[in-house]
Symmetry: C2
DNA sequence: ACAGAACCGTACCGTACGGTACCTATACCA
DNA sequence: TGGTATAGGTACCGTACGGTACGGTTCTGT
């Protein structure tokens, strides 16, 4: 099962190494992520690193892939839900999104992928995009579609609606934090931001317009 | 006049060098931006680079500062404007914003600043933030405030309103492009995206609610 | 015309990093 | 017990880059 080159699932040891590497990345940036430092921190040899992951780029990709695979599936679509249920689910989404993009791990991984985006089409950004954003986006889009079908929302294109919701929630916070702005104020502000975003979204796409 | 260390305005020669360096950055990413490459491309010596800019970080900061200083002031606040004038100004802003963040130069500079954000608090992100985003944001916020005073908009906090407008315009396009997604579709889509964003913004903050 | 500054080109130095080779130790298996 | 695979430790190599030194050349001001 671990012999499939298309779906490399690593051993526990290898996963532990990747986690250690991620730790280094978070606290020191990409420049701290040297093969020697990883080997030292993880208690393995450089030779093992190259045997397991090919080269440094492969190791970076493995880090991103592993972390992206950790995105929890979130709540289920809910069979029959009330309008309040929908609103609660949207606020939950908004909170999770804000919390996620504010996290050190997310910021570090995004910085890494963005740094690699200009050179050598390794596609770290694509991995992050597909495994991270797209997955959660898909689910929330489905939620919006459900809301549409149940008559709570009025939208022609759920994809478009999701995009709008994303913008209302994130605004310019993500890019600002990526650039080094203060991580986040307080949980109170986060809560309020999520609420505001969902209120505005409802105002735009709610059925009572 | 050029002796003020707080406001380093460079000579024409130095500006030309910085432009050449930016060119290198845009087409090769940060890894291509070696001091030797810059000296070769700009036809100057490495020694001059170090004399002018101190070290590599100083040179990077000079590149960002120079480019950030190029943000054109945009249209004036307009003394007495109609509601249509406001809408037109907002759409103009939206178009400019989308066009700017989609540009190779902007993407490269943002990638550079983001890459430096985790290590060595040189504050490239702060420069980009203050000289780029904040300047245009300040002006547009003033425009929104004007619209508020004239009764076209209904908002308590212009800053908040601007933030919302930004989110509606940019959505997740910026981060996606930073991660390497396709630059931009067509000018037609851009136009439509701007229009949609302003329409939604007006729906949220318009006085006729 | 001459002195001095600015600058170019090149060569050079030290270091750091990616990647490899080699040797040893431990674990598993017959 | 012996043999093989896996992995750790270390030393090493080549290269690339940041930064410096120096000789030669052009420009400028007097």
């Amino acid at each position: 099962m671990s012999t499939d080159p298309e779906h490399p699932d690593f051993t526990d040891r290898q996963r532990a190494v990747l986690d250690k590497a991620l730790e280094l990345l978070v606290e020191g940036g990409e420049k701290a992520l040297t093969t020697a430092a990883i080997a030292r921190a993880a208690g393995c040899s450089k030779e093992s690193l190259y045997k397991w992951f090919g080269d440094r780029d492969g190791l970076l990709a493995a880090i991103v892939t592993r972390q992206a695979s950790k995105v929890f599936p979130g709540a289920d679509p809910a069979a029959n839900m009330s309008n309040d249920d929908l609103r609660a689910a949207l606020e939950e989404f908004a909170r999770n999104l804000l919390e996620t993009i504010s996290g050190d791990v997310s910021l570090s991984l995004n910085r890494l992928a963005i740094g690699q985006a200009s050179k050598s089409e390794t596609g770290l950004g694509a991995i992050l995009e597909k495994s991270g954003r797209a997955r959660i986006g898909k689910q929330t889009t489905a939620l919006l579609e459900k809301g549409c079908i149940l008559g709570y929302l009025h939208c022609e294109d759920p994809q478009e609606a999701y995009s709008t919701l994303y913008g209302l929630v994130v605004r310019d916070q993500h890019i600002r934090m990526l650039l080094g702005a203060a991580a986040r104020e307080s949980a109170k502000d986060l809560e309020q931001a999520a609420e505001t975003a969902v209120r505005q979204f409802t105002q735009l796409y709610g059925a009572q317009n």
